[in-house]
Symmetry: C2
Subunit: 332 residues, 2 copies
C-alpha cells in the first residue's frame, strides 16, 4: 500500500484515462473544460455531492462509491429526458488516498461512465478535515426547450413510478441491523438484490423517449417517494393522491412488507430509490406505458394529481396512511 | 438567532432570489437547470469547492465566504477569456445554518454575481459531519474553439502576470500572526488592502479581450505563482524563467519584501492570488500591453518560456533562487 504523493499524479495517473474520449477535457491538463451541446440541444446540468457517513459508508468498496457518485447524478438527468454526456469531479479527501483505493475508485467511475455513456471532463482535488466528499456535476443533452420539468404536473395527471420502490432502504437497513439479516423472510438472491440496489443504483435512462413524448413532469426519487412526490405536487401547485397497495415492490421487498408492519410505510419514505417519478396525462397513459414496455422498463400507476395541496396516501381499506416523516430533509 | 428548519426554506427563501434573472434556473424549483450557450459560443466549465479550515476560516464573515466561493471559480473563467454566465452551488453544512448567517452569505453571493455578471441556476444542500463546504461550478462563454488553454505556451513566449503578487498570502499571514500585525512596516490602508485581497479576491475579467486576442496560454494563479507557472510550463512541454525583481508587488507587499528577507520568495509561493498568468508571443506583446492598459488592468512581463523543462527564478544578482516549496499541493 502506498499513498498518492501529488495532485498531478492523482489526476494524470488515475483520472485522465477517464477523459480521453472527450476533446473538451483537454486531457485534464487545463483548469477548465470546454463543453458545448450539439446544435438543437440544451445542456441539462445538476450537481449532487455524496459524502462519507451521509450518502455511503466510508468502508464501502471504492468501486461502489465511484459508481454511486456518478449514478445518483445521472439519475437526475434520466428524469429530465436527457442523454448524459459529461461530468466534473471535485474530490475532497481526509488523507491522501492509497494508490489501490484510487485505482478501484476510478474503475467504479469507468464502469459507470461506460454504462451511462458519459465522460469525465474536469474537476478539482483537495484535502480537508472532513470526511471523503465527492462532488459530481453532470451535463446531459435534451432537444432545445424540452427538459422535462418538476413543477409542471397538472390536475388529472396520473402518478407513475419506474421499477420498484424501497429496495435500497431495505438494503441499507439490512447492512446495519442484525435482526434484519437473520430473520427477514427472503432468500439469498433477494438479499443480494436489495444490497445491490443500495450500492449500485442504475439510472433509468431507458425511459428517456417515453418521458419526452408523454410526461408533463418528472423527477428522480432520491429522498423517499413520499417526500419527493410532495415536492413535485407543491412545486406544481397541485395535490397528489397515492394508493399504497399499488406502489411496486421487488419480490424481496414484497415479502418483507407482507410480514413486517412498519415496512409497509417505510418503503415509501426510505430514500435512495433512484427511480423516476412522473406525471402523465390520462390521454397519454397508454402511449407512455407502450413506450416504457418497448424500453423494457416497468412503470406503474400509483395515484393521481388533483386540485388542492399536499400528499395523501390511502391503504387498501381506504384509510389515510399517517407517516412519521415523508423522507429525507437534511434540515428538517 | 434561529436555525433554518427545512431545505425548501433554505433554497426558496435565501437562494431562489439569486436565480430570478435566469429562466433556465426554473426558480430553483427543479432538480436540474437547462443551460445553453448562445450561438457561436462554447461553455467553459469549472468546479472548485472551498472548505472551512482549508480555503477560509469558519468564523470569516458569511458575506466574505460567499463572495470568495464564487470569485475563486470565476477567476478560472477570467483566465480562459470567458464571460461568466451561471453557477451551481452545492452546500454542505455541519449544522443547519442560522437565518442571519444564511442571509449574509446570500448577500455576499449576490454582490459577487452582480459584480461578475452571472446568476445562480441550481445546486444542492446537505448536512454532513465535516466542515462547511461550498462547491461552486461555473459556466462561462467563449467564442467556439477559442478558450485560452493552459498547455499551449510556446518557446519564446513572454511570461506575464496581472495585478500584484503575494498580497493575499500576506493578508492571510497577518490574520494569524501577531508579530506581523504589530511590526510590519505598512500603514493602515496597506494592511486593509492585503486583508481585502485575501477575503474578497476580484477575478481579472477585464483582461478577456487582451487574452483572447494575444495570449497563447493562460491560467489563474491560485496555488502560488511558482507552482502554477511550473504547471503551465510542464503541461506545455517547455521551461519557464522568471526574474524575481520583476514580479509586481503592491505598495504594502513591496515594503514587507524590502524589510523581511523570507518574504522575498514567499510572495511567489503563497497562493490565493487570483491573478492571471499568461504566455504572450513577443510579436504580440505590444498589442497585449496596449489592450491591457485600455482595460485598466496592470500587466507585467516577469520572464520567458524557453526550451527545456522546469522553472527557474533568478534574483537581481543573477543567482538562482531556491524555494522551500513552489506552492500548494494538497497531496505533496
Amino acid at each position: 500500500m502506498s499513498a498518492i504523493t501529488s495532485e498531478t499524479s492523482l489526476v494524470q495517473e488515475f483520472l485522465a484515462p477517464l477523459a480521453v474520449a472527450e476533446p473538451g477535457a483537454f486531457g485534464l491538463l487545463d483548469d477548465c473544460a470546454a463543453l458545448t451541446p450539439r446544435p438543437g440541444m440544451d445542456w441539462v446540468v445538476k450537481t449532487d455531492p455524496v459524502i462519507a457517513g451521509v450518502h455511503f459508508f466510508p468502508n464501502d468498496k471504492p468501486g461502489d462509491i465511484g459508481w454511486k457518485a456518478l449514478a445518483v447524478n445521472v439519475s437526475d438527468l434520466a428524469a429530465k429526458g436527457a442523454i448524459p454526456r459529461a461530468y466534473l469531479l471535485a474530490l475532497s479527501f481526509p488523507t491522501a488516498p492509497e494508490r489501490e483505493w484510487m485505482s478501484a475508485f476510478a474503475e467504479g467511475l469507468r464502469a459507470a461512465q461506460t454504462a451511462f455513456g458519459c465522460h469525465l471532463v474536469g474537476g478539482d482535488t483537495d484535502k480537508s478535515t472532513g470526511p471523503l466528499s465527492i462532488g459530481v456535476t453532470v451535463f446531459g443533452e435534451v432537444p432545445t426547450g424540452r427538459m422535462v420539468r418538476r413543477a409542471t404536473a397538472r390536475v388529472g395527471d396520473i402518478v407513475y413510478v419506474s421499477g420498484s420502490i424501497g429496495d435500497s432502504a431495505l438494503g441499507l437497513h439490512a447492512r446495519t441491523n442484525g435482526f434484519a439479516r437473520k430473520f427477514w423472510p427472503i432468500d439469498t438472491e433477494e438479499r443480494a438484490y436489495l444490497n445491490l440496489r443500495y450500492l449500485r443504483p442504475v439510472p433509468r435512462l431507458e425511459l428517456r423517449q417515453a418521458l419526452l413524448a408523454h410526461a408533463s413532469a418528472a423527477m428522480d426519487i432520491s429522498d423517499g417517494l413520499a417526500k419527493d412526490l410532495e415536492r413535485m405536487a407543491s412545486a406544481s401547485g397541485v395535490a397528489a393522491h397515492v394508493r399504497l397497495a399499488d406502489v411496486p415492490l421487488s419480490s424481496g421487498a414484497a415479502k418483507i412488507v407482507a410480514s413486517i408492519a412498519e415496512w409497509q410505510t417505510k418503503v415509501v419514505t426510505g430514500g435512495d430509490d433512484y427511480e423516476i417519478l412522473c406525471a402523465v396525462p390520462p390521454s397519454r397513459a397508454a402511449g407512455f406505458e407502450r413506450d416504457a414496455v418497448a424500453s423494457k422498463m416497468r412503470v406503474t400507476a400509483i395515484g393521481t394529481f388533483a386540485a388542492g395541496a399536499g400528499l395523501s396516501i390511502v391503504d387498501p381499506s381506504g384509510a389515510v396512511v399517517v407517516l412519521d416523516r415523508t423522507g429525507w430533509d437534511h434540515f428538517g
